[in-house]
Symmetry: C2
Subunit: 200 residues, 2 copies
């Protein structure tokens, strides 16, 4: 145990992290305290949506190019490398419709930097839109603790024709849907899909 | 060059394979001559459908659990193992609707053995149907050189309530859609999807 000169014990774990751990134990998490892991939260939400029969969305595994497999060890991969995903990370079905999205986070309070997005993700989501699918981004403003659904068409527009290299926060406020956060699901993003694409 | 005792040269490559290679060069493949690789043919067909703007269907990468990565070699994976896919192999979008399917082949002429199908694939396709998605199997009868689309509901019924451990060929003839084969796409399976699910 490390102690301050005044004898008070010093815990090397930051207070915020300790609070988060305590919150997790308590199962009484308030979203504002909780440390967010966007991908983990989406995966947990997908598990909830699957089990409760609301939607079926899965994460595409990371594509890996396998060079060598050792069958003497029961098909253990001993040499391989990561390949580039040619699509987005998530797709699935809700009310018969095809959903496809990418999730990203930023620490910026004022805008979402487009450098976070890759050309192949834009190309893929354009195709999804052409085929009548629902295509969007889930963007987390980490320091604001806010998560938005923004239709892919806005992102494509900024990516291809925008003068700035980022999408201003105001665009999310105005054209995005703020995703409610909670315990289960962590992210009520299907509510946002419903509000944006299904409510007339 | 190996020669027969009579002086005629012997080509170690079987005649059928040589014929297939010649056919590939000629770009004039007749389906009956061509050696079929179902997965390869579906992937090629998906490429065709994507590039021609007809449908967008992708193969889910095989999920791999990574144990060790050597970053000194530029993120080379040095220890990993295969995980079980918890879904099917293919999903995508056609005319806004969600498609999901699994592809299997059999050498049997008379029936498709259900031992080819795993419980998690049945569970996944049941969920797809519950959410209003289009769920089917693409089954290749290899020795007949025929490929059928069969709605997942038939397979689920046989899997869960059938007395036999296989689906008779006659079921495919009667309730399936025979998929046309060609050069590009190799498998006109979207035509079968259109005929089965979109034509009124």
């Amino acid at each position: 145990m490390i102690k301050y000169p005044n004898g008070q014990s010093f815990n090397p774990t930051p207070k915020k992290v300790r609070q988060q751990r305590k919150d997790k134990k308590d199962l009484s998490i308030s979203a504002s305290n909780r440390g967010m892991d966007l991908e983990g939260d989406i995966n947990l939400s997908n598990g909830y949506y699957k089990n409760s029969g609301i939607a079926l969305v899965t994460k595409r595994p990371t594509p890996i190019n396998i060079v060598k497999v050792d069958y003497s060890k029961g098909a253990r991969i001993t040499d391989a490398y990561f390949e580039k995903q040619s699509t987005t990370d998530y797709n699935g079905v809700y009310k018969g419709k095809y959903l496809d999205f990418e999730a990203k986070n930023t620490k910026s309070k004022t805008s979402f930097p487009l450098s976070n997005i890759e050309q192949h993700q834009i190309d893929h989501l354009k195709r999804v839109l052409e085929h009548g699918g629902i295509a969007f981004f889930i963007i987390q403003f980490q320091t604001r603790n806010e998560v938005y659904l923004l239709d892919a068409s806005f992102v494509i527009e900024f990516y291809e024709h925008g003068e700035r290299k980022s999408i201003p926060y105001e665009v999310f406020k105005q054209d995005g849907i703020l995703i409610k956060q909670g315990f289960s699901p962590r992210l009520y993003y299907i509510d946002a899909v419903e509000a944006k694409y299904f409510k007339k």
